[in-house]
């Protein structure tokens, strides 16, 4: 293999062009944090449809639902934290247009791990004694050992593609993921046939720029199929240490779901015709990097 073939740089539009209607798409991050929103916006500018979305959901899920891109949603919650109930997700749910598989947060990552390891399922106690199994059609298995325990067989959450926003990457997909918490981004990458990463900073050779950060290489480059530099690409979600979430933007987005709550009438404000236009509309890179990190 030549070094040239390892150049995984793509444009956001080229990444979205790799996706097709009906695909199962994993989205990294957690609620209003570390979401690959620039890539989500690129999907919103495309004709892509009938997606099965697998996510610890925030505005990524809300927007894709609002735009009618989602046929099925696999979720444990959809929330913007300080705005606990994601209004566009609620509208989609309450209109009955969405097929869903609701899971516990821990079962969810267990399903990603099953997919990563190529297993049909992984056993867990979680879900027993609740309505999840019955509503989601989850089956049980019995331990073949002396304990004979009955467990839920959490099915693999196999992803056709995953979108992840990382702090740094090089052309070859050597990523560095840092900040207080990377959530389950590693497992989204490994559960997916192809993972595409957007990054705050793209360098040519990681070893020449940030060799001291090698321990932040959360998943290896064999799991990365495409890379695009998208500074501020998580906005309005948070991307520590670069910037905090934009609660003003989240509030405007949430308020726009009120009556009449027509996505087509408001989407230009939250998506824009291009990422450059979107960034300009929110005050540019300086406005985003000036957003304080949230404290709790």
């Amino acid at each position: 293999m030549t070094a040239r073939m390892l150049d995984k740089r793509m444009s956001a539009a080229e990444i979205v062009a790799q996706l097709s209607d009906g695909m199962t798409l994993g989205i990294g991050g957690w609620g209003p944090r570390r979401k690959p929103m620039a890539l989500v916006r690129e999907i919103l500018r495309s004709d892509l449809k009938d997606l099965t979305v697998v996510a610890y959901g925030g505005a990524d899920v809300g927007m894709l639902c609002a735009a009618g891109k989602v046929r099925k949603l696999v979720f444990a919650f959809v929330s913007l934290d300080a705005i606990p109930l994601e209004p566009w997700f609620r509208k989609a749910r309450e209109s009955g247009t969405l097929e869903v598989l609701e899971l516990d947060e821990g079962m969810f990552q267990w399903g990603l791990k099953a997919a990563a390891f190529g297993l049909p399922f992984l056993p867990t106690r979680v879900g027993l004694g609740t309505d999840l199994a019955e509503l989601g059609g989850l089956k049980t298995v019995q331990s073949p050992y002396d304990d004979a325990e009955t467990l839920i067989a959490m099915p693999a959450l196999k992803l056709d593609a995953a979108l992840i926003h990382v702090n740094r990457s090089d052309w070859r997909g050597n990523v560095q993921v840092f900040g207080p918490d990377a959530y389950y981004d590693e497992w989204f990458a490994k559960a997916a046939a192809k993972a595409y990463v957007s990054c705050e900073e793209l360098v040519d050779k990681m070893e020449d720029h940030y060799p001291e950060g090698a321990q932040d290489n959360l998943f290896e480059r064999c799991f990365v199929s495409g890379v695009v530099e998208m500074p501020c690409g998580a906005h309005p979600s948070s991307m520590p240490p670069h910037y905090g979430w934009d609660m003003k933007a989240f509030k405007a987005y949430a308020d726009s779901a009120r009556v009449p709550g027509d996505w087509d009438a408001v989407k230009d404000r939250f998506v824009g015709a291009s990422e450059a236009e979107y960034l300009a509309n929110i005050g540019g890179k300086e406005a985003v990097t000036g957003l304080p990190l949230p404290i709790f």
């Binding site: 749910r93 516990d104 979680v126 027993l128 004694g129 609740t130 207080p180 990377a182 959530y183 404290i295």
Partner: protein, 263 residues
């Protein structure tokens, strides 16, 4: 004594749920449970572990509300990426939370109300981590407005495991299901009635059992001797005030009433 608020009495009562819990992660979601966990750690149960509300473990509970970001001093790291391995699925945690509904079996709901799974009337957060929390580690609850829409005969969507015999899948291991305490603006309850029935243990000053029963959508048991809920000590009040310098807790219970009702 007269200037002690009901919310401070509730925080004090909630903190008792964490007494002598050992080296486990005490998670309080919302101002009252979080202050209660902090109070427990700073007074009777210093061995408790807790996070800064995000990804770091702290030995000094983090005060509520705006402050300098760097005021937090991490002593350890417990990100969500390790949370199930380290805290939930190991049973090393006690969470105190506020679900939307709780029924006579202690089953809780945070997912949706009314309608169906495919078309809920009111969509809420989703089950979050409740199914795993309730089958793996102890849980307690705080409700700021005790009423029949919260305490229902049967929750609309069972998001957390309770003591409902009909939901005990044969062969399943339910040995770690451990619902501890419910604190409300009216009383303190536990699950020690017949067949884990919810039982009133103490009544806040001036509250009667009949009043609690009338505000509850199912029949309550009562402890043999229902006592009056203990007033917070002066030390506890100082700790609570230090952990909540902006008095965020004043907004938790409607009208922020005093602990002792006006005659």
């Amino acid at each position: 004594m007269s200037d002690i608020t009901l919310v401070d009495l509730c925080i004090f009562a909630c903190s008792e749920a964490f007494r002598d819990n050992g080296e486990i992660v005490a998670t309080g979601v919302g101002p009252v449970p979080r202050l209660a966990a902090g109070l427990a750690k700073l007074t009777h149960t210093p061995e408790l572990m807790m996070t800064d509300g995000e990804a770091y473990l702290v030995e000094q509970p983090v005060p509520l509300g705006p402050r300098a970001y760097d005021a937090r001093k991490p002593a350890g790291h417990l990100p969500f990426s390790r949370f199930f391995d380290s805290a939930v699925w190991s049973g090393r945690r006690h969470a105190m939370v506020t679900p939307t509904q709780l029924d006579r079996f202690g089953q809780i709901n945070l997912s949706y109300m009314g309608g169906t799974y495919d078309k809920p009337k009111t969509q809420m957060l989703g089950v979050r981590g409740f199914p795993g929390n309730t089958i793996y580690h102890p849980n307690s609850f705080f409700f700021p407005a005790h009423g029949p829409r919260v305490f229902v005969p049967q929750v609309d969507m069972i998001s957390g495991v309770g003591y409902n015999p009909a939901k005990r899948t044969a062969g399943g291991n339910f040995s770690a299901v451990d619902l501890r305490v419910i604190v409300t603006n009216l009383c303190v309850m536990d699950f020690a009635g017949p067949d884990n029935a919810i039982r009133v243990v103490s009544l806040h000053p001036g509250v009667t059992f009949d009043e609690v029963q009338a505000a509850t959508g199912f029949e309550l048991a009562q402890a043999e001797t229902m006592v009056e809920t203990a007033m917070p000590s002066a030390e506890a009040l100082d700790v609570i005030a230090a952990l909540d310098p902006h008095n965020i807790r004043a907004g938790v219970i409607k009208d922020n009433p005093p602990a002792v009702r006006a005659a």
